[in-house]
């Protein structure tokens, strides 16, 4: 191999940079997110596994149904009606954005723009 030293050094630097997120996380181990459980009700509009992986899909579908198709029928969960709405639905049981949304979003380093427009009840709106 020509330029063995240069190639290997380059390769080493490349590998170090690419794997940076992995070992950075090993050193700065973060606490696993723990969500605040709602006190008002026990059952969600969909099962927990689905909500964990796909709540954003659900919210997106709700948004399309309400805004674009005028399908605003309330969702009935064990006799309790819920509005298809982040602000007027989800936040009724999960009122604290910090403890419920940001907890995971920060951990997973995702930055949804919900809060550019929507409010959490009574906190931001004043």
């Amino acid at each position: 191999m020509y330029d063995k030293g240069k190639v290997l050094t380059g390769l080493a630097i490349f590998v170090a940079i690419v794997t940076f997120p992995v070992w950075y996380d090993l050193v700065h181990a973060q606490h696993v997110p723990k969500l605040e459980k709602p006190t008002l009700s026990k059952k969600c509009v969909a099962d927990i596994a689905y909500m964990r992986t796909s709540h954003m899909v659900l919210l997106d579908n709700w948004r399309n149904e309400v805004v674009r198709e005028e399908k605003r029928k309330l969702i009935d969960v064990e006799g309790k009606p819920y509005a298809k709405s982040l602000q007027m639905g989800c936040m009724k049981c999960h009122p604290d954005r910090k403890k419920f949304c940001d907890e995971c979003h920060t951990y997973a380093s995702v930055d949804p723009f919900c809060w550019d427009c929507h409010f959490q009840p009574k906190k931001e709106a004043n």
Partner: protein
């Protein structure tokens, strides 16, 4: 061609083929109208039970329902401050920011004088008082909206109640709709409406925020949506509610001949803004 005329010709043509003759074509048309009105009053689902007339009728399903508004300008002129009440009600309800400068301005409903509201109407020897008459203006929710044609993402569209809706989530902020709207009904979020002072107060919401309605983010277009969230729970639009018992604003399905608004339209001479543009505005004015 006008919908009624198209219906008539269609029914007349079909009747002629069936050998029913012209007089029966006319009765068919009357029946068709009555059915359409029941559909409007009953709200969609019940009408299906009657069975739509075989001829005509249902191809125009998309225009069977059209929310509209009659604005009585003399009543507003007689009730000083009523227009402002409507504007404040709407702008508070929907968290419309007040920037205090024309460059950033956002408005869903506003007042301008007659001269600049109806510039295409004759100005020749016009009554002097008329030109300064304040006129309440908002989105016309056109039956034939150029903004909907222009939008490249269907972020603005006509819903099945004839309302021109803005989908704030989908808007890419190209502002083609603003160029297309002949009425200046559309505003753009030139900056973040939720900018705060150091003490946490919002800069552009002097009357506070309505916690039940979101704000918008910078970079999207917004306008009056005829309050679909209120209509869904049986309430009139915020501006109409603000007029109280004055009847200065009448709201309803203009395609339902039995509706209050249809009766008002039938009984009064009304005008629309720039009707020559062919957009078929659903907001009518009594002068």
């Amino acid at each position: 061609m006008d919908v009624k005329r198209r219906n008539f010709l269609k029914i007349a043509g079909l009747s002629a083929v069936a050998g029913l003759g012209a007089s029966s074509a006319f009765t068919q048309l009357l029946k068709g109208n009555a059915l359409a009105s029941e559909e409007g009053a009953g709200g969609g689902e019940t009408a299906a039970g009657h069975g739509a007339p075989e001829q005509g009728g249902h191809q125009e399903a998309e225009t069977a329902f059209q929310y509209g508004m009659v604005i009585d300008i003399p009543k507003f002129a007689a009730n000083k401050g009523l227009a402002e009440k409507c504007i404040n009600a709407c702008h508070y309800e929907h968290n419309v920011p007040d920037y205090g400068n024309p460059k950033d301005e956002i408005k869903w409903i506003w007042v301008d004088d007659y001269e600049h509201s109806f510039p295409d109407a004759s100005q020749y020897k016009r009554n002097a008082g008329l030109n300064d008459l304040p006129v309440l203006l908002t989105c016309n929710h056109c039956a034939n909206p150029p903004c909907v044609r222009a939008c490249p993402t269907q972020a603005t569209f006509k819903n099945d109640k004839g309302v021109v809706i803005m989908d704030f989530h989908r808007c890419i902020g190209c502002r083609f709709c603003m160029a297309a709207c002949p009425y200046g009904a559309r505003s753009f979020n030139w900056r973040n409406p939720r900018e705060q002072y150091a003490n946490g107060n919002y800069k552009f919401f002097k009357h506070g925020l309505n916690p039940n309605y979101p704000t918008r983010m910078r970079g999207v277009v917004e306008k009056c949506n005829f309050c679909p969230e209120r209509l869904a729970v049986g309430k009139p639009p915020a501006c109409v509610e603000a007029t109280g018992d004055t009847k200065a604003m009448v709201f309803g399905n203009i395609n339902d001949p039995n509706s209050e608004i249809a009766k008002v339209l039938n009984a009064n001479f009304t005008i629309q803004r720039n009707s020559a543009a062919g957009t078929k505005p659903s907001v009518f004015y009594i002068i």
